[in-house]
Amino acid sequence: MKNKTNFPSQEEETCPSRCPDNSAFKQQRLPAWKPQLDIVTVLSSFFLTGAFCLTVGVCLILSANSVREIQVDYSDKCSDCSKFRENSSNWNKECHCSVNFTLKEDILGDVFMYYGLQNFYQNHRRYMISRSDAQLLGRNVNIQRSYCAPFTTYKNGTPMAPCGAIANSMFNDTIDLFYNRNSSVIQVPLLKTGNSWWTDKNVKFRNPESYNLSSAFAGTARPPYWQKPVYLLDEGDERNTGYVNDDFIIWMRVSAFATFRNLYRRVRRIRHFADGLPAGNYTFQISYNFPVSKFKGRKHVILSTVVWSGGSNPFLGIAYVVSGTAATLAGFVITAIHLKLRKKKTYFQRQ
C-alpha cells in the first residue's frame, strides 16, 4: 500500500494533468462493425447453407455409391487355422486356408486390397505408446529408455528390433488373390510397395546404416511373436525390408478404431486386370498366422476402389444432406414466425 501510494506523486511530476486521453481506444469508441441478425441475413444464411449442403450431399452420396467394395470375412472360414493358432505352441507352424468368393460385376479402376481387423484395439493407450520412433529411424538408441517395455529386450539382454508391443503384434497373414478364370487359376498381380505414405517410407522409417541389412540388425533379435527377423520381412526387395517394409510401416501407423482396415496390396493393372478386377470367381489364399480368437476378433479381406471423396462410406454425403435439410427447415420455420409476427407488429423492426 505504501508503495502504491507513491506512484501518483511521481506521475504528478511528469504529467500535470491526469485527464485521460480522449482517444478512440481509451474511450471505447473504436470503429466497429456490429453484426445484427436481421431477417434478411438470417434467412439468406439458412437457405444458402441449406442449398449448399444439399447439393454437396447429393454429389457425395452419388460418388460414394460409385465405389465398388467387397468384404470377405475369413475368420470363420478358416476356423481350423483359427483353432490351430489358439495353441501357442504352434506359433512357427504354417497354416493355410483358402476362401472363395464371386464378383458379380467388374470392379473398375484402381482396386485396393485391405485386411480388416475387428475388435483389435490398436488405439489402446498402453499399446499405442509401446514403440520407439527413434529406433525405427535407424538410430542406435537405448530402447530401454523408450516406452517399448516389456517388449524391449529378451532376458539375455538382446534387444528386440523393432521393439514394442505394436511391432510385436504385427499382422502377419499373407493373402494372395487368385482369379479362377475358366478353371484356370490366375494369380492376381498385387503391388506390395507404394502403399504407405511417402513420408513414412522415406523419412520416418529408416533402416540402420550398414553395408547390408543383416549386419545392420546384428545383435538384435526379432520380436517374440514374429516368425522371422525384421530384415527378412521382404526377402525379395532390399528396399522393402527391415523397418522400411510397407506392411510394417502401415501396421505401425496405429489405427484410430478397434475395427479398422489397413491397405495390404494394390491390384497391379496389367493384362486381365488392366481395367480392374473383372467379374468372376476368385480365391484368397491365406497363410493364417495372426490369431484373433483370443480377443474375439475377426479378420476380413476387402477389395475396394476409391473415389475423390474417399471410400465407400456414404456418411459424409448423408451428413451434408441432413444438415442441409435442417438448415432449410429452420429457414422455413423462421420465415413462418416472421410472417406471423409481422402482422402483429409487436416487435421492433428495422424499416
Binding site: M1, N3, N6, S17, C19, P20, D21, K26, Q27, L30, A32, W33, P35, Q36, L37, S45, F46, F120, Y121, Q122, N123, H124, R125, R126, Y127, M128, I129, D133, A134, A149, P150, A165, S169, W197, T199, V203, K204, R253, V254, S255, A256, F257, A258, T259, R261, N262, G310, N313, F315, L316, A319, A326, A327, A330, I334, I337, L341, Y347, F348, R350
Partner: protein, 1469 residues
Amino acid sequence: MAFSVDSAWYRWQRLGAPSQAPSEPTPLLPPGRDNPKLSLNKWRVVFPGSGRQWKDWKQASTFYSGNGIQTTKYTWFTFVPQNLFEQFHRLGNLCFFFLVVLSWFPQVEIFCRGVTLLPLVVVLLPSMIKDAVEDYRKHQYDKTINSSKTRVYDKEERAYVERCWKDVRVGDFVQLQCNETIPADILLLHSSDQSGICHLETANLDGETNLKQRRVVRGLPGQNALFEPEFFQSTITCEMPNNNLNKFQGYMEQPNDERVGFNIESLLLRGCTIRNTEVAVGIVIYAGHETKAMLNNNGPRYKRSRIERRMNVDIFLCVGLLFVMCLIGAVGHGIWTGTFSEHPPYDVPDEYGNFLSPALAGFYTFLTMIILLQTLIPISLYVSIELVKLGQVFLIHNDIDLYDEAADLPIQCRALNITEDLGQIQYIFSDKTGTLTENKMVFRRCTVDGIEFSHQENAKRLETHKELDLDDEDFTKLQPLTLPPPTVGRAGGAQQSPPGALRRCQSARARVQGHARSRSLGRRDSSQSQVAFSSTIEKDVTPDSRLLRRVREAALQTESLSPFIPTRTSTAFADFFLALAICNTVLVSTATEPRQRVTIPPPIKPPGITLEKIHQIFQRLKLASLSQSFSSSQSSSELGASFGARGPEEPLPALGSGDSSDRGDSGDRHDSSDRGDSGDSGDRRDSGDSTDMGPASLEEMLQSVSSSSLPPALCYEAESPDEAALVHAAQAYSFSLVSRTPERVTVRLPQGTLLTFDILHTLGFDSVRKRMSVVVRHPLTKEIVVYTKGADSVIMDLLEDSDGESFPCVLAEKRMKRIKEKTQKHLDLYARDGLRTLCIAKKVLNEDDFQKWANFRREAEAAIENREELLMETAQHLETKLTLLGATGIEDRLQDGVPDTIVALREAGIQIWVLTGDKQETAVNIAYSCKLLDQRDTVFTINTENKETCESLLDLTLEEVRKSYEWDKPRRKIFGIIPTAPEAPEAPGTEFGLVIDGKTLSLIFQGGLQEKFVALARRCRSVLCCRSTPLQKGMVVRLLRGQLRAMTLAIGDGANDVSMIQAADVGIGISGQEGMQAVMASDFAITRFKHLKKLLLVHGHWCYSRLAKMVIYFFYKNVSYVNLLFWYQFFCGFSGSTMIDYWQMIFFNLFFTSVPPILFGVLDKDVSAETLLGLPELYRNGQNSEIYNLSTFIITMLDAFYQSLICFFVPYLVYKDSDIDVFSFGNPINTISLLTILLHQALEMKTWTLSQLVAMMCSLGFYLVFSLIYNAVCLLCNPPSNPYWILERQLSEPTFYLLCLLTPPAALLPRFFISALRGTFGASLILKAQQIDKLPKGQRDLEMQKLRSRKATSGASPAPNDDLDQSIGHLCVSPFLHPAAAAVSQGHTEGQGLSSSAVSPLRRGTPEEGYCFYNRWAEEESAATDSSAGPFAPSRGTAPGQGSGQVPKDRDPRSSSGSHRRSVSAVTL
C-alpha cells in the same frame, strides 16, 4: 518476539534500578503497575540515547527494531520457493500441481512428463513475474525511504547530524524542521512553538488535510529553554507497538523519580509531516516496522466478485463432471478389460510382464483420465480473467466522462477484481452528506433572537454560483460580467483581484487531496495551498441587509440609551456572531502562505486606553443584558459613532469587506479599509478620551499585524464544513476569527478591534451529545462564558427556563419563551427546506461554579476507569441552563446531476437507500429534492422506542404494502398475456417509501425483527435511515446482503461511511471534502455522485456482460474440447488414449483460442454507451444475472456437449471402417473444433473492431502455421505420439475440407437458430437496444423514448428478484391481516393493541387518499428518557396514556400547505 524482548528489557532494567517505587500516582499509570508480572508484557522501555544512560540505550537499542524498513516480501534467494508456495495457495494451482505430480507415475502417464508442466508454468509464470516486478519496485522504494535524511543528535559531536532514516534507532533524539517528514514514531519533547505545540499533517496516514496539533509532553521541565538532549535523563515507559493510531500511553521517569504521563497528544507518527513549526525535537519510541504507520499498513484487500463466486460453484460442477467422466472411464475400462478371457496382444503387460487386474486397471484409468480431461477445469480461466479485469480497469480508469476536471482526478479503481460487480448492483446505500450533497456548507439563513433573516441575496448568489459552476473554465472571464445587480456591491473589491485565484486554489487543493496517499518525503511543495473546507461558495456570504442593519441599529441603540429590550437584542446579536466565530475548532491560516498558520496571537492586546474603552463598552453591554440598566458614557457613544461612521461611508460596508476579505489578493484593500475604520475610531477616541497611547500606536499595531504576522486574507481549516461555513458567515458580518491557539482565540470585531479570549476549555463535538462548547473568559468583562453550538433537538432541551437567576422577571421569561417558540418555528422551516440547523446558545458562569466544574473536569480527565463516561458527564453538567442566542440554517447543496442519476439508477432497478446521520426532516427533504421520494409515494415513517410497537408497526405496514401488491396481481393476469418479465409490475403511484430512524433500527437489530424489516424494506421504493450511527450503516448493509443475498453498493465520502463501504460488495468512496478515509476503504473512488450513473449503467453493464460471456465461453470452450477426448474413450476401450497430439492440445487452450475471448472480454460492447444511458432498464440484465447463471451455464454445457458430439461423431462416422490412423483422425477433429469454437465466439461477439478481427484471424492462422510446422518438423519431438506430416497429407484430401465445411455450421446450427429466433420472436430489451443502436441518431432517440414510455405504462417496478408472494405468505401471519381480525384483538399487549387501533384510521384513510403516513412520534417518550436509556424500558409507562388518545392528528405541517399531493395521515400514539 518484540514482546519478549521488551519484557526482558523491562526486567533487566528493573533489576538494574530496583528502587523504582512510584513516587506519585499518575493517572496514566496502569493499575497493575505494582504487579510487575502483569505489566511486563505491556510495556516498552526506552532509554535516551544520550547522556548518562547511554550504555543502557546501546544495549536496548539493539533489541528494538531499527528504523530501516523492508516491505518486500521476498529476497533474491527466497523468491522462487516462497512465491511458488504462495501461488499454490490457490486451489486451482494446487490442483494442477497435483496433476503434474500424478503424471510422473508411469502407470498413468499419458504424455511426455515435461509437457504436463506447461500449463502450470504458463499460469504461474505471469504471476511470478508480476510479483517480482512489484517486489522490486517496493525494494527500490524502501531504498529511497531508508536513505532519506533526518537530523539525529550525536553524542560525540554534541550536535544534530544528518543521518539516514534507516540508521535512526529507538532512543535517538531527532530534530525535525518544518515540512519535514517524520522518520519514526517520536515522542515530542520540544517544540519551537512557545506553547509547546507542534502541527502535524496526517494526510499520508489518513488523508486528512487539516492540521493536527501535538504538544510537548506536559510537565516536562525547562520547556521554554533550549532543549538539550544531553541533559535529558528520563526513562520512557510506554505501550508495546500496536496499530492503534489514536491511542498511545506511557510515562516518563525523570531522574528524580518523578513520573510524567503522556498520550497520543505527544506522539509524532511516522509518515506525517511537520507543519508550521520551525523546529521540533523528540525521542524515537518506535522505529521501522514497529511504527504505528507501518503496523497499519495492510495490503490491499481481496474481494471476490459475484461472478467469481458463481464461477467457483461451476468449477466445482466441472470437477463433479470430471469425476463422473473419469468414473465412467474407470468402470468402462475395468469391464472392458474383464471381458477378455485371455490377454489380447494390444493389452500390454507392464515391464515385468505382469498384467493388471481389471480393478487396478480401472483405478489407473481413473487417474489417467483425470490427467487427460484436466482441461475440463479451466485453469487458463483464472489468468484470463485477471487479464480481462486489468483491461477493464484500464478502460474504466481512462473514461473521460468519469474524470473530474476541477479536481483533476479520474476515477480510481482500487480493487482490481470486482469490476463486473458494478453491473449487478441491486441495492445502493448512499450517504447523504457529501455524497448526494456537495458537503460544501453554505450559510443560508439564520434566526437571532427570534427574528428570522432570510438572506435573500445570499440565495441569489448561490444561484449565480450554480450557473458559474457549469462552465468554470470561463469563470475568470465571466465572473464580473455575469454577476447580477444585487451583488454589485462586491464589484469594487472583486474586480481588481483576479477572481480565478480562489478557484485555482480550490482545484489545487483537490489535487493534493487526490494525492494525499502519496508519501511526500519532505518534498511537498510548501506553497501548495491546502485549505480544508473552504470553497468559494462557503466563503462568500452575502450578508442579509436587514440583519446588517440590525447589527448597526443595535449598536446605535446601545448608544442612544434606548429601552432594555433592544439593548438586549443587540447583545444577542453580538454574542451570536461571537459564538459563531469562537465556538468551533477552526484553525486559521493565510491564503498566501496557507501552511503558515496564524497561531501567534496578535502581538499586543488592544493596548491602553482603547482596550479600556472597549472593556467598558462590553461591561455596559453586559450590564444592559443582565440588569437591563444602562449607563451612558462617552465611550459608548463613541462606539456607536464608530458603528455609525461606517454606515454613511459605504452603503453596505460589511458586504464589501466580507467579500473582499475572501478574495485572496484584495486582502490588502480589506485591511486598509479596516485600518481606515480603526483609525477613524481611534481618532474619535483620541478626541474624546485621554490616552496613553495615541491612535498612531493602534494604527501602528495594526499595520505591523497586517504586514508581518497577520497576513491579509485568512483561510479557515475546519474539521467539519459546517464550522467553516459558520466562521465565514461570522466573518461576513465582520466578526472574523483571526487566530486560534489552544489557549487563546482572537476575533476581530466590526470596529476592527481585536479581542482575545482565553479559552478555558473546549468540549469537543461528539455524536452522543451532539453539541460542542467552548468555555472562554471574556477579555473585557472577565466573565466566564460558555458558548454552545449543537443540534436543535438537544439545545432546545437544555435551555434555561427563566432568563437569569438575578432577574426573575416575568416579562423576560415570557420573552424567552416567545423567542424559543419562534426559533423553533424557524428551525422547522429550515429543516423543511433541507437546511442543516444548528442552535447557538450561551451561558455565563460565575467564577466559583467554573472552578468547581473545572476541578471535576480535571478529575475526570485524570480518571483511569470510566474516563469517557466521566468526561461526558462533566460536559453534560456544564451544558445546561443555556440562553438561546439563535439558530443557523446551513445549506448543503445537492451535487450536480444527483436527481437525474437517482432516477436513472432507479429505472435500472436499483433500490437506493440513504443512510445518514442527519436529522429526519432534513433527510426526507433531501430525499424529495433528489427524487429519491416522489410526491405521490406513500411514505411510512417508523420511529419508535418500543419493541412491540415496532414489530406491530412493521406488520401493519407490511400488510398495507402487501395489499397494494394484491391489487396489482389480478390486473396483471388480465391484461398481461404472458408474465414474461420476472419483475412484478406495480401500479404506478402506489410506491412506498420508508423512513426509519436510528433508534428504531437498533430496536430492529436487537429485537430480531430483521426479517420483517427486510421484507418491508425490499418492497419500498426507497428507504431512508436517519440518525444512524456508522455502525448501523454497516449493519444495515450486512443485513441486506445476508438476508436477500443481494448485491450491494455503498457510497460515501466520510469516515462514518467506512464501515458501510467495507460491508458492501462494492464500496465506492467519494474523494470529497472529508478526508480520504472513505476512499482508502473503497474499491472505487469517484469524485461526484453523478459519475455513478455511467460507472454502473455503462461500465458496470459492459464489464458484467463481457466477463460473464467470457467466463461462460471459457467453460463452453473447455467442455466442448475435452469432451472430444472423452467420446474417443468409448472407442479405445476407455484406456485413456488421445487422438490429438498433446502439444497441439495444450496449444489449443493456451494460444489458439485464448486471445479472442480475452479481447472479447475487454472490448466487446453489446450496446453502445449512449443507449445504455438512455435506457437504464438495460441494467437489469446484469442485475438478474441473466447472462451467467445456473441455467445459462447448463444450457451452455448442453450446447458444448452437443457441439462436441457433432465435432466428434461426424468425423468418426466419416472415417469409420477406414484405414485412418489415430492422429490423422484427431487432426480434423482438432481443426473442426477450433473452427467451431472460434465461430461460436464470432456469433457471441457483438462488436467487431479491427483488433478482434485480427485476433480471430491470427488464432486460426497461428493454428495452421504451428500445426504445419510442427507436423513437418517433428519426428521425435514428443516420442510416443508422432503426428508427422499428418496435416500436410490431410490438406491434400478433399474429405478434410468437406468435413471442415460441414461440421462447424452443423455444430452451431442450433445456437444460431435460437439466437435468430430470439431476434425475431421474444426480443429481449438488449436486442432491441442493439437494433436501436444501428439507427441514425435522431431516430435512435425517438425509439428510446418510445421504449421508455412503453415501459412506463406497462409499469416498471424496482423489485429485482421477486419471490414476493412466497415470502410474504409466511411473513404476514399477523392478526392484522383482516380488519375483522384486527378488531378482535382487545386483550392484547399494549403494542399490539396500539397497532390494531391504528388500523382503523388507516383503513379509512387509504381508499380515499391513497396515501398514508404512519408517524409514530416518539418525542414524548424521548423527552422523558435519556438517550442512553434502553430501548425497551421507557414506553411501558407512557404507552397506555398515549394509546387512549388515539386521535389522528396531523402533525406534519407539510400537509397543511396543500400545494402538493403529499398528503399525510399521521397517527399519533
